[in-house]
Amino acid sequence: MTMIFFSAAAVTLIATALAITRANPVHGLLNFVVSLLSMAVIFFTLGAPFAAALEVMVYAGAVVVLFLFVVMMLSLDRAAASREREWMARPVWVLPFLFVAVLGALLARIMLFSPGDDAAPAVITPQAVGARLFTTEIAAVELASMLLLAGLIGAFHMGRK
C-alpha cells in the first residue's frame, strides 16, 4: 500500500507540474486528468473509496469536460500558443517561485514537524459518510445546494447574449 501511495504521489506531482507549464491548454488539461486519476488512487490508499469515486466522476469527469468545452469554444489557434510561450518566459517564474518556496518551507515546518501520534488508517465506508452527511450535516448539504443554485443562476445570467 505504501509503494502504491508513493508512486501515485510521484505521478500526481509530476503531472501537475507539467499541467501548469504547458502552452497549449488541451495538453495542460490532459496532464491535469492524469494528476486527478492518480489522486483518486491516493484517496483509495488512504481508505476513502467514496472520495476516490467522487474524484474520478466529478473532477476527472465533469470539471475537465467543462474545461474542454470552453477551450473548444475559445477557438485558440497557433498564434495564441506562441503568445502563451512569450508570456511564459523564464524571468516570470523567478519571483513567484521564491514566494512559493518560502511559503512551502513555513507550511512544512508548521504542519509536518508538529508532534502527533499515528493511528493506523482504517477504511471509511460510503455508508458511514452518507449516514453522517444526511443526519448531522444536513444543514451544510442544504447550504451547498443553495451555493450550486446560485452558481447555476449566475452562470445562466452571465451566459445570456
Binding site: A48, A119, P121, R132
Partner: protein, 101 residues
C-alpha cells in the same frame, strides 16, 4: 504503513504548485486550472485528516470542497467566455476595467 504526514506533504506540494501556476501564468484558463489544483490539494488534506482521526468528516468536507469547486468553475468559465468575446484575448492583465465607457 501510511502515516498522515505523507498525504499532508503531498497536499502542501500540490497547493504550492497550484499557487505557482496562479502567480506565474497570465492565461486565464491556466489560472482557473491552478485554482482547481489548489482546491484539490485542500480536499486531499481534508481526506488525510479524516483518515488520521478515523471519522467520515474529512470526506464530508471533501464533498463540500467539490461543490465549491464546481460552483466557482461554472462562473469562472462563463466570465472567461465573456472576456474572450469582449477583449479577444485570454490575458488576465487586459481585464482592468470594470465597465466600458
Amino acid at each position: 504503513m501510511i502515516t498522515w504526514q505523507m498525504p499532508a506533504a503531498l497536499a502542501i506540494g500540490l497547493f504550492l504548485l497550484g499557487l505557482l501556476g496562479l502567480l506565474a501564468r497570465r492565461s486565464l484558463i491556466f489560472v482557473l486550472m491552478s485554482i482547481e489544483i489548489m482546491l484539490n490539494a485542500a480536499g486531499l488534506l481534508f481526506v488525510a485528516a479524516g483518515m488520521r482521526w478515523g471519522t467520515p468528516d474529512g470526506q464530508i468536507m471533501f464533498i463540500f470542497v467539490l461543490n465549491l469547486a464546481g460552483a466557482e468553475l461554472a462562473l469562472g468559465l462563463i466570465f472567461l467566455l465573456r472576456l474572450r468575446t469582449r477583449l479577444t484575448t485570454l490575458d488576465g492583465d487586459a481585464a482592468n476595467l470594470l465597465r466600458d465607457g
